[in-house]
Amino acid sequence: MSKEIKFSDETLEVVAKIILRYPEGRQKSALLPVLHIAQAEFDGWLSSEVMDYVASILNIKPIEVYEVASFYSMYNLKPVGKCLLEVCRTGPCMLNGAEDLVAHFENKLNIKDGETTADGMFTLKTVECLGSCGTAPMLQCGADYYENLDNQKADALLDKLRDENQRSRYC
């Protein structure tokens, strides 16, 4: 059975505070931050049930949530592994070995870009510029940036994340 889709009282309080940042009647402005919270609270992705719930608490139509959730690359519309490894591959990172890093993860984890390991631990995702060009190659996992990576550091990171066994979250 899936758990009930409802924020805790504490989370609802956080959401209420976010809504206060905007003028009255502009609570839709809270959509992006609230979707981040929803994604973090409900297993790292946004199911249509979760999006409907967000629509209900912001008093907007579900379509207004779907069209936003599908526009921004940080919202996952499908389940992801416990740790989402987002490897930057744009120009400056490419110049400094991002392609080798992606290949290393593919070999090591035995998955391709966009796939999740069989144990559900890691999802590998290539992303566009993360604003860390001077410390390339790099990846983001949750709110953390891991920079100046090489194969050795990448392996150590995988071990660390496996040991911690925590779901990565941006917030």
Binding site: K28, F71, G91, M94, L95, C133, T135
Partner: protein, 453 residues
């Protein structure tokens, strides 16, 4: 040592805290403007300073402020653009992370000048950890009475909030940013009306880059006339440059406008020269959207003058032999770089980031990515090179926002300066099979060899 303004106190321990920031002179500008200056006085100083938008477009900041509709009875807003997403650019992140109060002080002073009572910092979603740093600094500023009701006992009140994005380069375009802040898809709006008339919630709004806003307190403290003395001509003040690529010392550097490009690349104070003793091949001087320059046009203009880090010198020669200062995203490429591969990754970026509103950009960026992919992988046709030029030409100027231009320029300029390298990929498909084809044996121009012989 060159003059530092924004990063002067970078290495002072604890500079991220309000206490240390104040000890170093922070928040003096808030006191000065609230107690001794009218809002218009502040705008006048910014006009005098010659400060130009540091996000990429370089539009004079004071003039942008003066467009704000003061007759409107709606509330006015200042929105800080911290959606730094231009490939090669990471200066705003650095400034916010290291000296968060410099932005907050700038927001207070600028909001006062514009008559804004509520202001927002819109930060890209990937910078979540920076959001936490800003939130902490804002809480300190409220606590110390620099934000909230009746700041420093005056009748000026301001609330400042940070809004998080969720991964979309297009939200760096100011009207897309405002749409996003309203909780919508980041689709740019038609202009006019400009945000100064109808921006956030259809109210008068100014959108400024992080670095632009952070410069304002310094201008207030030293006066606009003094600030205007730094730099060269219409490129006044200092600029943060994000240096990346094949250099010994990548990172963020504050330079005085007018520094020679050659010194920036080779001096140990800055990039420290090309990594591994390789030869310089190409430069993207101002973020991925600006035209790429080949080696012979980097340190000197087509006329043989020294190329300087200014808006004017970098664009000397127009798009034929020049480029732009842009966001200051300085990407250096050595001789092992495949220009086709680099251009392909940028084309992929723009295709990924096109919002899809305008057909030329939505379709064209995808076509350019695909054509570049096939050339790079040895499946191209000779006619593909001109096809790319043709697509780029048809996107440029035909879209609501500048993303179309930004996608077209890097490709058009790469072909303008490196056409032979594109043709090489078509002529010798077997030589480009290995993705690292120029890594061990850099590309050599046959034409240049023939002319020397």
């Amino acid at each position: 040592m060159a003059r530092k303004i924004l990063l002067e106190h970078l290495n002072v321990p604890g500079i991220e805290t309000l206490e240390v920031f104040r000890k170093m002179g922070g928040y003096q500008a808030v006191e000065k403007v609230l107690k001794t200056m009218s809002p218009d006085d502040v705008t006048e100083e910014v006009k005098k300073s010659g400060l130009r938008g540091r996000g990429g477009a370089g539009f004079p900041a004071g003039m942008k402020w003066s467009f704000i509709d003061k007759k409107s009875e709606k509330p006015r807003y200042l929105v800080c653009n911290a959606d730094e997403s231009e490939p090669g650019t990471f200066k705003d992140r650095y400034l916010m992370e290291k000296i968060p109060h410099s932005l907050i002080e700038g927001m207070i002073v600028s909001s006062y000048a514009l008559g804004a009572k509520t202001s927002y910092i819109y930060i890209r979603g990937e910078y979540f950890y920076v959001l936490r740093i800003l939130e902490k600094a804002i809480a300190e500023a409220y606590e110390a009475g620099f934000l909230g009701k009746n700041i420093l006992g005056t009748d000026y009140s301001l609330d400042l909030h940070v809004q998080i994005g969720a991964g979309a380069y297009i939200c760096g375009e100011e009207t897309a940013l405002l749409e996003s802040l309203e909780g919508k898809r980041g689709n740019p709006r038609m202009k006019p009306p400009f945000p100064a008339i109808s921006g956030l919630y259809a109210s008068p709004t100014v959108v400024n880059n992080v670095e632009t806003i952070a410069a304002v307190p310094h201008i207030v403290n030293m006066t606009g006339d003094e600030y205007a003395k730094i730099g060269v001509g219409r490129s006044t003040g200092t600029k943060l440059i994000s240096a990346s690529g094949h250099i010994n010392k990548p990172g963020v550097y504050e330079i005085e406008m007018g520094l020679p490009v050659e010194e920036f690349i080779y001096s140990d104070e800055y990039c420290g020269g090309i990594k591994n003793g390789k030869r310089l091949k190409a430069l993207i001087a101002g973020g991925s959207s600006v035209p790429i320059l080949p080696e012979h046009l980097i340190t000197k203009t087509a006329n043989g003058d020294a190329r300087l880090m200014t808006y004017e010198s970098l664009s000397d020669g127009g798009f034929v032999s020049g480029t732009m200062l842009g966001s200051g995203g300085f990407i250096v490429m050595d001789e092992t770089t495949c220009i086709v591969r680099n251009t392909w990754t940028l084309a992929r970026f723009y295709h990924h980031e096109s919002c899809g509103q305008c057909s030329p950009c939505r379709e064209g960026t995808g076509w350019m990515e695909k054509v570049l992919h096939r050339i790079e992988n040895g499946h191209g046709k000779m006619s593909d090179v001109d096809l790319l030029v043709d697509i780029a030409k048809k996107i440029e100027g035909n879209t609501i926002c500048p993303l179309g231009d930004a996608a077209a320029w890097p490709i058009a300029s790469a072909i303008r300066h490196f056409r032979e390298e594109f043709e090489y990929h078509v002529k010798y498909p077997e030589k480009v099979k290995d993705p690292k084809h120029f890594f061990y044996a850099p590309f050599v121009s046959e034409k240049m060899n023939a002319s020397i012989a």
